[in-house]
């Protein structure tokens, strides 16, 4: 169209259409300019993942479509006002009557998302496992128990939403993790002791879970520790042998990351510290020695739960030089076990922590080589449903 016509045409438009059209196009131009020229962050603490780096164009990446995927991810990851938009989305969902966000039932495994519970609590939406992962994992743990010569204890950790069902939104459907507990008992049979902490952690006894994180809190970890000791025939160290240090506020955990909003009240986190200090050291990857088991640097970051042992890796060894009983405990675990270590470390000379997701050696050889005397598997039920560890436990 000719320039002189534009003025004339402008008059024919509906004025509000014209204004909004200009406004929207300006928004898109701003978005494009921001993505192209604004300084980029490479890591999203909220999501605990690296953000998409600038896409690299090549013939191969163009032909297999990976270049396009990378561009789309890049635009999404570096969009202006990203966190504000996401919070706005959460708020609008809640305003529309939703009581859960973040669900995606078309992925494998399906992602249930997060419930907004009462008292500022967030909870995982629990779903039945449709992939068969739990069955394989449970069978593998039972086989493991049968194949080793040391006593084996299996401790499935229930999720907060399992234990605090009363706090869930009205009528909120939730899968019952006792089904997995029961199945694990059946498969383990006589080979292993299944430690039942479902009743101990129920909400009538107290709040054993973080409000904004999927893990149990310090008190929940202590309950699980007590229950495990009971089955092992060990006298647990009493909780009042510890000072509970409040860590740097505010704490927003993993569930908050799935349900980012303006209205969430921050969480609290306590670290148990022995009143009478003991000489406890951590050997990272089995070798690199550290004083104690707390990684204070994580308290300044978002991922505060990693203060325990500095997160997860293939092998960690925790030695207590003030315990001379010679008992060596092997723990196959996910991160739920990490917050039990401050307690368990007072009962064993050595604790060997193996996270099978990152461990690529033969567990059975490890047990023989290290002279392990007791073995435990501490896993959240949800983790056993979602991620397969079965192939790492094949008896060789």
């Amino acid at each position: 169209m000719k320039i002189q016509n534009v003025k004339e045409q402008w008059k024919k438009c509906e004025p509000e259409y014209a204004i909004l059209t200009v406004l929207l196009l300006l928004c898109f131009v701003f978005g494009a300019a921001w993505i192209l020229f604004a300084p980029k962050e490479d890591f999203s603490e909220d999501e605990n993942r690296a953000l998409e780096p600038a896409p690299k164009l090549s013939a191969a990446s163009l032909l297999d479509g990976s270049f396009m995927e990378s561009v789309e991810a890049y635009v999404g990851d570096h969009f202006p006002l990203r966190k504000e938009f996401i919070s706005l989305y959460t708020v609008s969902q809640v305003a529309m009557g939703k009581r859960d966000v973040g669900g995606n039932y078309s992925t494998t495994p399906a992602e249930g998302g997060v419930y907004f519970g009462s008292e500022g609590h967030l909870y995982e939406v629990l779903l039945p496992d449709r992939t068969g992962t739990f069955e394989q994992n449970a069978q593998a743990l039972a086989n493991f128990a049968g194949a080793v010569d040391v006593p084996v204890y299996l401790l499935p950790a229930p999720s907060g939403s399992q234990e605090q069902g009363g706090n869930l939104p009205l009528f909120a459907p939730n899968h019952d993790q006792r089904e997995e507990l029961q199945r694990l008992r059946e498969l383990a049979g006589e080979e292993a002791v299944v430690v039942n902490v479902f009743d101990d952690l129920a909400s009538i006894n107290g709040d054993y879970y973080f409000k904004t994180d999927h893990h149990w809190n310090t008190f929940g970890a202590y309950e699980a520790y007590e229950a495990l000791c009971g089955e092992m025939g060990i006298t647990p160290t009493p909780l009042d042998a510890y000072n509970l240090r409040t860590v740097t506020q505010p704490f927003y955990g993993t569930l908050y990351s799935k349900a980012v909003s303006f209205f969430q009240t921050p969480d609290r986190m306590y670290l148990p510290e022995l009143k009478e200090e003991q000489d406890i050291r951590q050997y990272v990857n089995g070798t690199e020695e550290r004083e104690g088991i707390y990684w204070e640097e994580y308290l300044e970051k978002k991922d505060k739960y990693s203060v325990y042992l500095g997160g997860n890796r293939g092998v960690d060894v925790v030695k207590n030089f003030d315990v001379q009983n010679g008992r060596k405990l092997l723990i196959l675990k996910d991160s739920y076990a990490n917050s039990m270590i401050p307690y368990l470390a007072t009962n064993f000379s050595e604790i060997h922590l193996i996270d099978l997701r990152y461990y690529n050696f033969n567990v059975y050889d490890y047990i023989k080589e290290q002279g392990i005397t007791d073995a435990a598997a501490i896993y959240s039920v949800k983790q056993l449903c979602d991620v397969s560890i079965a192939n790492k436990l094949i008896v060789r």
Binding site: Q9, C13, L25, G65, E72, S380, Q383
Partner: protein, 464 residues
């Protein structure tokens, strides 16, 4: 690429508009073709070759049919060849897996099932190719001399991947000559936004509930209704939203694409539903299948046969799986019944009951449509009418409670009165205009929020 994505809105959209309005008139179609192929290649970097091949073959066939305009025998041979090529491609890419597995089941042989990825939009552009050849053959439109103009018709990105299916005869004049005006441009932007809101704010939201009910399986009566109703509104707002976006985009480039949806859920018969649902597909089947088969002019028996053929094909067009064929057959039965006796009855009973019949018929149809596993779909329908499962359960109640407002908005938005009210607000003086604009901007912000949220994927496994 899809319209409701950040990459489209912030980059592709701006670039194509800028390029289109900067190049001189004679290059505008070429510009559209270039961007349309890029748009297609974004999602199908390899199959874009297939798209180009289709363009070249159909263009040549069109020329040949034009050349043979006096020799009908030769023209007929070309058009039969052309239709066979197009349907052959569609058949291979879309139905090979289904046909071979059916063959294996029937014969007990184990011919390996070919694994071919379905090229995006092939069902749409194949039908448009056929419409071109047939329209030229029938002399309803002249063949295109310039391949760029033909490519503009076939590959025009707004309608390329999900319709509307535009008959060549309807679009040919616009390809050659059209006028872009600011009036059309701004109105097109509004129409596009309306489609975006439908897709992002309603369809995507309802999809989560529909998928959740499908994931859980064996629903109670209430849960089955919640899930299938969610799907009923999801597919309407998804598809009609996409059509709105396409029509709006067309306007921004000076085109006038045909309407595709006209409030189907207010229909008072199933036949009316299909005159309001995916109108361009219905039109295509009427024009190129139903009428050539003899339509309704050769006695009732032929009419019934023709209806059955058209509806089963319509069903299968939606996907290569038996539930779609069943869905088509289901509509064939309903529409034949309406043609035979039900239609007259529906006119006599109170409007509410004829609406209820049509709406429930559509909802039941979506249950068949949305479950690829036919027996699972039938179980859900049984549950809806109290023949399977419990009356209610927690997911049913929870869905009623947490999706109640969404359902209400979806229902209101699917009747014509809603649009009229919004239009009245916009044209009712300064205050009304201000409220309308504010509402529009809120919906826009929420849509952007939802699109950004899609890109947000907490990676938390490392911590578990």
């Amino acid at each position: 690429m899809i319209f409701s994505s950040l990459i489209y809105l912030t980059f592709f959209f701006l670039l194509v508009l800028l390029a289109y309005y900067l190049v001189p008139r004679r290059l505008k179609n070429g510009c559209l073709v270039l961007f349309s192929l890029a748009f297609y290649a974004w999602g199908e970097p390899v199959y874009v070759v297939l798209m180009i091949l289709t363009i070249v073959v159909d263009y040549c066939c069109g020329l040949l049919i034009g050349r043979f305009s006096e020799r009908r025998g030769a023209a007929r041979a070309v058009i039969v060849g052309n239709v066979l090529i197009n349907l052959g491609l569609l058949g291979w890419f879309k139905y090979a897996g289904l046909l071979v597995s059916a063959f294996d089941q029937l014969t007990g042989l184990s011919v390996p099932i070919p694994e071919v990825a379905l090229p995006i939009g092939i069902s749409f552009y194949t039908f448009e190719s056929i419409s071109y050849a047939v329209d030229v053959y029938r002399k309803e439109a002249p063949p295109v001399k310039n391949i760029i103009n033909f490519a503009t018709y076939l590959s025009f990105f707004p309608h390329l991947v999900a319709g509307p299916i535009v008959r060549y005869e309807k679009l040919q004049a616009q390809v050659l000559c059209r006028e872009e005006t600011l009036e059309k441009f701004t109105a097109g932007m509004m129409r596009f936004s309306k489609g975006l809101f439908k897709k992002v704010l309603l369809a995507n939201n309802l999809a989560v509930l529909a998928e959740r009910v499908q994931y859980m399986g064996n629903p109670s009566t209430l849960e089955a209704w919640m899930g299938v109703l969610a799907y009923t509104f999801q597919i309407y707002f998804d598809f009609s939203g996409y059509s709105d976006m396409a029509i709006g985009l067309g306007m921004m480039f000076g085109f006038e694409l045909p309407e595709n949806f006209d409030h189907p859920y207010v229909s008072r018969s199933v036949s009316e539903f299909w005159r309001r649902w995916h109108m361009t597909l219905g039109g295509w089947f009427r024009e190129y299948v139903y009428i050539p088969l003899g339509g309704n002019r050769k006695g009732m028996a032929r009419t019934v046969r023709n209806l059955a053929v058209v509806w089963v094909l319509t069903g299968l067009w939606h996907g290569a799986s038996w539930n779609f064929a069943l869905w088509g057959a289901y509509y064939a039965v309903l529409i034949i019944c309406e043609r035979l006796f039900l239609g007259k009855l529906l006119e006599k009973i109170p409007a509410f009951f004829s609406w209820l019949y049509s709406f429930v018929a559509a909802v039941v149809g979506w249950a068949i449509f949305s479950y690829t596993d036919v027996s699972a779909g039938l179980r859900v329908i049984a549950a809806m009418f109290g023949f399977a499962g419990a009356g209610t359960d927690s997911l049913g109640m929870y869905a009623l409670l947490t999706y109640g407002p969404t359902f209400l908005i979806a229902a209101v938005c699917s009747v014509p009165a809603a649009g009229r009210l919004v239009e009245r607000l916009r044209t009712s003086g300064k205050v009304g205009k201000a409220v309308w604009c504010a509402g529009f901007l809120v919906l826009f912000a929420l849509s952007m929020a939802s699109l950004v949220d899609n890109s947000y994927s907490p990676f938390l496994y490392a911590k578990f």
